[in-house]
């Protein structure tokens, strides 16, 4: 499988994503956004960073870049697509996934380790876990507060599209364990297809045993194996 890691101007987790995927034995390449998605792409990562300087809103500019038409077409044909951090913001801004990620309730950039409860294990992104598992991943964002509106949140839950919720070390989903004020402690969601997902926490920063305190992120990236 060849995974294209899309590099926009201002992306900065693209190399990390490639390294993490290669560690898992996945053939991964960075793709400059102006070059478009290669035909032989079997998976796509929208990496973290500060694409277009977060102008207007985080992810707003990249979401309207021409390469996103390729990403949407690939997603619609069943190619797995994962957006991480700024990639999650791009995913929601482009309508690939529901909701929006906006300014943290703290009004601060937050760079810390968080616990996540796996809400469902029957997706490509979570097949390595059991539902209810608690995993530990890093976050690093200023605009990670998941907002969706009451009605749409109800539909999101009814449709079972929440992948991860911020929780404490025991798996309890509490306000105290919510780092950014996200609605329902939501940290990651699915798109229309289960092969499309976004996550504010960084699985690629919790994959390489030599540099990461946790390797819990490997399970998410195994969707590409």
């Amino acid at each position: 499988m060849t995974v294209s890691v899309v590099q926009f101007g201002g992306s900065n987790c693209d190399r990390d994503a490639v390294r993490a995927l290669r560690h898992l034995g996945v053939d991964a390449e960075r793709v400059w956004h102006e070059d478009g998605i290669p035909d032989d792409t079997d998976g796509i990562v929208l990496p973290g960073g500060f694409s277009y300087g977060d102008y207007l809103r985080a992810g707003a500019m990249a979401a309207r870049a021409p390469i996103m038409a390729d990403v949407r077409a690939a997603a619609d044909s069943g190619v797995p697509v994962l957006g991480v951090c700024n990639g999650a913001q791009i995913g929601s801004e482009s309508g690939l996934t529901p909701g929006a990620f906006t300014t943290n309730a703290s009004a601060r950039f937050q760079c810390e380790s968080v616990h996540l409860r796996v809400e469902r294990a029957d997706t490509p992104w979570t097949a390595a876990y059991d539902a209810g598992d608690v995993i530990e991943l890093p976050i690093a964002h200023g605009e990670g507060r998941f907002e969706i509106g009451d009605d749409a949140y109800g539909k999101l839950v009814d449709d079972d599209r929440v992948l991860f919720r911020y929780c404490d070390a025991d798996g309890a989903v509490t306000d105290a364990a919510n780092p950014n004020g996200s609605t329902g402690n939501v940290a990651g969601v699915l798109g229309d297809r289960e092969t499309v997902a976004v996550s504010m926490p960084h699985p690629e920063r919790a994959t390489l045993p030599d540099v990461a305190a946790s390797t819990d992120g490997q399970g998410i990236l195994r969707a590409f194996v």
Binding site: L56, R57, A60, R64, S92, E93, G99, A100, T102, T103, N104, A105, S106, A107, R145, E147, I148, G149, A152, G181
Partner: protein, 83 residues
């Protein structure tokens, strides 16, 4: 064709937390001002050539729908004036 300026004002929907506005409010209070609430909004001034004001407004409206606002969290309004 006439030249218009479309002013697009984008603000958070009522009830959506605005941490930056809250922080700004607290800073004003630290400076000794008394205030009950503070709301922030983004304003875009778009110069447009169009046949009439309705056409200019329609174009600015689509700009707001497709980029300037995020309908999940924002409301917006468009006002058009001849330049």
């Amino acid at each position: 064709m006439t030249e218009f300026t479309a002013t697009v004002t984008v603000r958070l929907k009522r009830g959506v937390l605005d941490p930056e506005a809250e922080t700004t409010k607290r800073a004003l209070e630290r400076l000794g001002f008394e205030l009950s609430a503070l709301r922030a909004a983004d304003r875009f001034e778009v110069d447009i050539e169009a046949d009439d004001a309705d056409e200019a407004a329609a174009r600015a409206d689509e700009m707001a729908e497709r980029l300037l606002a995020n309908p999940t969290i924002h409301d917006y309004e468009v006002a058009v004036a001849e330049r």
